[in-house]
């Protein structure tokens, strides 16, 4: 059963709100990453406002699903989503990367207790998620009802640790584990296929005994169908390769790897970001374009 129209509309509106917050945060912080947070906004929105079993009033609820952000540098989208989901006030988003803020430049679990882990150094999130799923299996068997999600970047698949975790998850048949890869094709120094080719990416995961799906990372129905299938697969972990547009929401920055690791700072860049902020209210039209039908 696909998502109802009303639900898609609600998610689209949430995603617009979150994108607006991300852009405002980056302009205010004057440092941070632009491309990844904006391209993963739809997936974060879908997870926190539809798929995840969680309770913002009781973040340590033991039966919650676990979501690990492996590529911690896209944390503006994590923080903005958590704030919009009610974990902390929206006003706190302005403190990103400032002295004493809970919103560290890369996520710090100890200071922001609703996080499942700290991250930043790449390539270690999947293994931690594997460890969580294994621990849960020891306590509750293979049908605990909890889902374990790991959000990863394509660039961090250069790290050997990522593949070590993938091998173990395949070996252990962790069917309640779903990795979602932000396949935006960029990393700091350039396009992924120039820096360190990953293709054929789907084949690599299949070879480690994962169930593989490829989706449009900006299409809520596509994401929803893939998550549903991931939950239905019983004897394998699932990976969803989500094709995304880097910096989605600021047309001048979209698809450019140069925006991987910097915020808008020059007058021209800030103007482009403000223009996007102004237009973001009309982006509902864009999201409803044929691409997102």
């Amino acid at each position: 059963m696909s998502l109802a129209d009303e639900k898609v509309k609600l998610l689209e509106q949430k995603a617009l709100d979150i994108r607006r917050s991300i852009i405002e945060m980056l302009i205010e912080a004057k440092s941070g990453h632009t491309a990844g947070p904006l391209d993963m906004t739809d997936i974060f929105t879908y997870l926190y406002f539809h798929a995840l079993k969680h309770d913002q009033k009781n973040p340590s609820w033991q039966y919650r699903d676990r979501l690990v952000l492996s590529n911690g540098h896209i944390c503006p989208v994590l923080y903005a989503t958590l704030a919009h989901a009610g974990y902390f006030p929206l006003s706190e988003l302005n403190t990103l990367r400032k002295l004493g803020s809970r919103l560290q430049g890369h996520p710090h679990r100890e200071w922001l207790s609703m996080l499942e882990t700290s991250s930043g150094p790449l390539g270690s999130g999947l293994s931690q998620t594997v460890g969580m799923a294994l621990a849960d299996r020891i306590d509750n068997g293979r049908t605990s009802g909890k889902q374990f999600y790991c959000l990863m970047s394509d660039g961090e698949l250069d790290c050997g640790n990522s593949w070590e975790g993938a091998m173990l998850a395949g070996k252990e048949k962790l069917q309640n584990l779903t990795a979602i890869i932000d396949r935006n094709n960029i990393q700091i120094d350039g396009f992924t296929e120039d820096i360190m080719p990953l293709n054929p990416l789907a084949d690599k995961w299949r070879a480690w005994n994962w169930h593989v799906q490829e989706v449009d990372g900006h299409n809520f129905r596509d994401i929803d169908r893939a998550i549903g299938e991931a939950h239905a697969v019983f004897d394998k972990p699932s990976v969803i390769i989500a094709y995304t547009i880097p910096s989605k929401g600021i047309p001048e920055f979209e698809r450019k790897f140069e925006w991987h690791g910097k915020p808008p700072t020059t007058p021209g860049e800030i103007e482009a970001a403000h223009k996007a902020l102004k237009e973001i209210r009309t982006m509902g039209g864009k999201v409803e374009s044929p691409h997102h039908s």
């Binding site: 700290s118 460890g131 969580m132």
Partner: protein, 333 residues
């Protein structure tokens, strides 16, 4: 003489003193910890027998995870399990864990502040014939530099057993350093052990202050320190030996007290001098009560293949070298 309060092995100085792998004590302790607390889980990187985790694996197969030769995965999977309330013990050789996975230990264990216990086997030059690639001589330095990490270097099998059981009861990230070879059993079941507490194991009856010296040792080399102390005692020196089995948190009170009493120290460890136990002692005393110190340890070198006893001599960590270091530091008083 041996400190009677320590209830050390009465046959300690006998030629046929019992020798057991320090790893054996770890394995016994892990089994005990597993029996006492079902949150204890074991993870190993393809060295389950060698790191003496096999007993735990056999007894608790459902609580054992075989990781394969992937030490970065070892640390990060352990971190994830700890986040779910487990007390993971992870083992490999010290050269690979914490040698290869230091950043994962830093970020996912220490920064996250989760109770993962890291046992690094085959530490020190006495690994012997395997050669320089496998002789971890920097592990204590890289572990003690990490905020929150507790660093324990047991002197023998019994102390390793106690350290392992004690580590399982704390919420702290902990590193336990284990040697490869069988080493003399110096302590007994009745010897006191507490994480963070150094123990005076030898104290002369000689009262000379001019000839007073303290030897601070960690790990299996404590045995050589004790033998040197016995000889010095017989020669009329006033020698005290302190067993520092917890490198971090360092028992500063005991070290400062020893410095006050003796005004000359020798540190003894099977580790690079840079960054090891001696460095920790020097940091403490430079700030609180500076006295001359001589350092026994590896001098900014890699090891090589050879018999453990040959290597200990070649790299100047033998009884002769400890004895000479004492003479040297006494001149510096």
């Amino acid at each position: 003489m041996l400190n009677p309060d320590q209830k050390l092995n009465p046959k300690l100085f006998d030629a046929d003193v019992e020798q057991i792998y320090i790893r054996t004590g770890f394995g016994e302790g892990l089994l005990k910890a597993g029996e006492m607390d079902q949150r204890v889980v074991g993870l190993c990187a393809d060295l389950v027998e060698s790191t003496h985790m096999l007993g735990f694996k056999m007894k608790f197969p459902e609580r054992y995870i075989e990781i394969g030769v992937a030490e970065q995965n070892l640390a990060t999977v352990a971190s994830g399990m700890a986040a779910m309330g487990k007390i993971p013990f992870m083992t490999s050789y010290a050269m690979f864990s914490p040698g290869r996975n230091w950043e994962q230990i830093r970020t996912t264990i220490c920064y996250n502040n989760v109770p993962v216990k890291i046992a690094g086997a085959h530490a020190g030059i006495s690994v012997g014939p395997d050669g320089g690639t496998h002789q971890a001589l920097e592990d204590m330095a890289i572990m003690r530099a990490l905020p929150r990490m507790v660093v324990i270097s047991p002197c023998d099998s019994i102390e390793a057993r106690k350290a392992t059981i004690a580590a399982a009861k704390t919420p702290d990230p902990t590193y336990i350093r284990l040697a490869r070879e069988k080493t003399p059993v110096m302590t007994t079941d009745d010897t006191p052990f507490q994480i963070g507490k150094a123990q005076i194991v030898f104290k002369s009856k000689n009262s000379s202050s001019k000839n007073s010296v303290g030897i601070i040792a960690t790990g299996a080399l404590l045995y050589k320190a004790l033998k040197v102390a016995k000889k010095l005692d017989e020669e009329g020196k006033n020698v005290t030996v302190l067993n520092v089995s917890t490198i971090k948190p360092l028992d500063e009170q005991a070290i400062i007290h020893l410095a006050h009493e003796t005004r000359a120290l020798v540190t003894v460890e099977e580790h690079q001098i840079a960054g090891g136990m001696g460095s920790a002692v020097a940091e403490c005393l430079a700030a609180h009560f500076p006295v001359p110190i001589e350092f026994i340890g590896v001098k900014d070198q890699f090891g090589q293949s050879g018999r453990p006893d040959e290597l200990i001599e070649l790299y100047e960590m033998g009884e002769k070298h400890i004895y000479q270091a004492v003479q040297k530091v006494l001149i510096r008083k």
